[in-house]
Amino acid sequence: MSHSTEIDSKEAWSGGQSPFRISYGKMMMWFFLVSDALTFGGLLVSYGFIRHKYADVWPKAENVFTHFPFIEKHLPLAYVGLMTFILIMSSVTMVLAVEAGHRNDKKKVIMWMFWTIVGGATFVGSQAWEWFHFIHGTAEGALRHVWDMDSGKYVEKVVYGANMTVNEYGVPQFANYFFFITGFHGFHVFSGVCINLIIFLNVLKGTYERRGHYEMIEKVGLYWHFVDLVWVFVFTFFYLL
């Protein structure tokens, strides 16, 4: 924990010390996260706008995401719930790694970082599985107007699953936003796993032990919690509401 106490505002801004009492790296990570959060916020605002516009033809997520690996049953949103749990869990293991770092406990840092990486990789894999089922669709498909290149006009055709132009489940905009928002988030998780892996290797090598502090764990931790934070919102606005 940073031992930051409330400081007198007159004193703080008169020079000599930073009124923010935080290291350069952590502050820059926070600034980056604010800008990244604005990007995700913009995506969700745009999603909300289009969803209002197509309210009556917008598919319900619990009718779209009904599959669960290895179980041949109709389980709406169960897998997304599990994915959410995995990501929250990996956020907890991350913050435990940060806590171990504060005590310079290398062994515990290694253990918790390892489980964080496992959780993150599981989440990315689950995301890929969900995309696969969304793109392939149901066995029945749905009748839609599809652009025919040869005749140069729209023809009636049964479509299966969803892509950027046709969507079995409803309006194509639903699929577009699904791919864009969960894709952008999934890419963040993927890069988070890569960054965590690099830091994990550094911990193994003893880089931070020699440095005397494990503040780097805190910085990557901030990024990792941010990824979890975004998912909490995507989960609510895309799947629950």
Partner: protein
């Protein structure tokens, strides 16, 4: 370096330390936060599957409850996991203020512009097949709880799938 700082630390990086007892206390708090977040998520999922008309037909109070619980979870992540609650207030302000200002505008845009542009006259590109499917579904059910997918086709095999 140390002359720059009016405290016991050579630099702010070295503030990243705490004792064994403090660690114990912190871990206890973190696990409590985890259980709260897990309980909220399970509650959301159960409510989501129990509520008969979800999506745009769902109860307004439930939607607001979901949004409130989401903000609660976000608060726990930011203040507890990201330790923003322990930073000085100036830092909290410079991080939260710009975001809240921009997002308030974004929410205003959704609620104001999104609704009026949703008038059917402004929507020329929705597949008529999809609209007729939706209308048939809306006319066909409404009383039984396990309604088939609204966005799904009217294919006869559809019933067997559910």
């Amino acid at each position: 370096m140390s002359a720059e700082f009016h405290d016991d630390y050579p630099s702010y990086e070295h503030m990243a330390h705490h004792s064994e007892e403090e660690g114990k206390k912190t871990r206890k708090t973190l696990w409590r936060v985890f259980w709260i977040m897990l309980a909220i998520t399970i509650f959301e999922l159960v409510m989501g599957s129990l509520a008969p008309g979800q999506g745009w037909t769902g109860a307004t109070w439930l939607k607001f409850l979901f949004i409130a619980l989401t903000l609660l979870k976000a608060g726990y992540i930011i203040l507890s996991f990201m330790h923003l609650g322990q930073e000085v207030k100036f830092l909290k302000y410079i991080i939260l203020t710009p975001y809240i200002v921009f997002m308030s505008y974004g929410i205003f845009v959704i609620l104001d512009e999104g609704v009026y542009s949703g008038e059917p006259i402004n929507r020329t590109r929705v597949d008529p097949i999809l609209i007729s499917q939706q209308e048939k579904l809306k006319a066909g059910h409404g009383h039984h709880a396990s309604a088939p997918a609204e966005g799904h086709s009217e294919a006869p095999a559809e019933e067997a799938h559910h």
